[in-house]
């Protein structure tokens, strides 16, 4: 009896929504690989542009021998460490810059000067200062993260509607309370946006840094592929970067939705 009963309408709608989201993604990815395959096999037809089947087979081999995981986890660890340190430093600096004009005037020369020096250009300095070990990579990720988080946080503070502050004042809040209970929560969406942008930049930076000076990491896999003419390896690294970036960004968006959905005006 119960088995034959159709599912309730609400569940049905949810299933359909899940399908439209994930089905859409799946279809998008499949079409991407189909076009890639067609382009590689029928238009280019060269060993320099392997079709997806060969790349995935090679990826499977590298994954089974553990080589891929080694490179992937090396890159990911560097990104996470630098990203967390950069965000943790950027947030209070951005809040201070947004809240106090003297602090802004004092620190703006730093942020406005340094943010135009790309982190890729800082690789040379980083290697000279910190060697080719972890320290130089983490320094570069911190460098690439911190300014975006600072600028977004400061912009978030200055974007707070004056009436929010005034309302708190006439409700009897002290300066410290206004900062803690109004300015800080009002800025959360901006901080998270800054962090998401910073995460995307971290991928660029880490690959560039590993291309030039590293013993492992996805950039190193890329560089070795060029050195030894292992075109398949190059493509494995590229696809891994794409998938990794996509997953990390989804994860970020999901955690924003779960933990900070109420801070975002859209939800």
């Amino acid at each position: 009896m119960t088995r034959s009963r159709p599912p309730p309408a609400g569940g049905d709608k949810r299933v359909r929504r899940v399908w439209s989201v994930y089905g859409g993604y799946a279809l998008g990815f499949v079409s991407l690989f189909v076009i890639w395959h067609l382009a590689a096999v029928y238009f280019v037809g060269s060993v320099l542009f392997p079709p997806p089947v060969i790349v995935f087979r090679k990826g499977w081999v590298l994954a089974r021998t553990g080589v891929l995981w080694e490179h992937l986890s090396a890159s990911l660890q560097r990104i996470l460490a630098g990203f967390l340190v950069g965000s943790a430093l950027g947030m209070p600096i951005g809040l201070a810059m947004g809240s106090f004009r003297p602090v802004r005037r004092l620190l703006e020369p730093y942020t406005e000067f340094l943010r135009f020096i790309p982190s890729v250009a800082m690789i040379t300095v980083a290697v000279i200062w910190f060697g080719i070990g972890e320290a130089s990579k983490i320094f570069l990720i911190v460098y690439t993260t911190i300014f975006i988080v600072i600028i977004n946080t400061a912009a978030g503070v200055s974007a707070i509607a004056p009436d929010k502050i005034r309302a708190a004042q006439s409700l009897g809040a002290s300066r410290a309370q206004i900062f803690l209970h109004v300015a800080l929560p009002a800025t959360v969406p901006y901080i998270l946006t800054g962090m998401r942008l910073a995460m995307a930049n971290s991928f660029t930076t880490i690959v560039a840094a590993e291309l030039i000076a590293a013993n492992d990491g996805l950039g190193k896999l890329l560089w070795d592929g060029r050195m030894f003419m292992l075109v398949d390896d190059i493509f494995v690294s590229l696809v891994t970067l794409g998938l990794l970036g996509f997953s990390v960004d989804r994860l970020f968006r999901w955690s924003i939705y779960v933990f900070a959905g109420k801070y975002s005006p859209a939800t």
Binding site: A161, P162, D163, K164, R166, A167, A168, Q169, S170, L171, G172, A173, S174, Q177, H181, V182, P185, A186, V188, K262, Y263, P265, T267
Partner: protein, 257 residues
Amino acid sequence: MSFRDVEKTYRSLQGVDYTAVEHFSLDIEAGEFFCLLGPSGCGKTTVLKLLAGFEAPTAGQILMDGRPVTGASRDRAVVFQGDDSLYGWLTAVENVEFGLRMRRVPRSERRERALRQLDLVGLTGQAQKYPAELSGGMKQRIQIARVLANEPTMLLMDEPFAALDAQTRALMQEELAGIWRATRTTVLFITHDIDEAVTLGQRIGVMRAGPAAQVKGVIEVTLNGARSRTDDVFLKYYRRVHDMIRDEVAAAAGRGR
């Protein structure tokens, strides 16, 4: 509450001075509902900002219970025109208890008081919703509940219903009048709408067109009980206020051109 010869001059980014109000004097009695009416750009909001303590006067004095106003304080609660002042990350009830939370009123007590205020403004059952989930009228009700929960000596309202549709506005005016009759909190209500002023006010102060605006005259409205827009007496007051403000509206419009 009294304004004594108050002046407020703003300096624009180009360095040009603009005097919004000059020699502005006004007394508001404790417990009265005072409407300040004026054409757009006449400095009504400036008057409210000065009294709220958000801005300091360039000259003159503002006294509250005999003491000069030096800054924002919880004895002068403000209901703002838009919904910018609500905290989007807090639920309706959390918005209402904000002032109590800042004063460290125990959790259960402040929750109870906030819920009572929400009932009073007709938001029973909406306590756990976020402002973004509520209509414009409901958001203004949260603002009103939020200031009432804080038990201010005076309510300052800056065209709180201006952005609402006509039906909601009329309903909110009726409810506000009811709340005022129940609490007898002093109210300074700013509006550009004659109808609204005659509906709500015990006294109506008509402002001159800016710059350097003052109160042109004060009309006492002796309508008892519920006010009906179709009553002859209502219309008589409407006409009196209208006659007083007509020239000022024309002046404001002429200046704008």
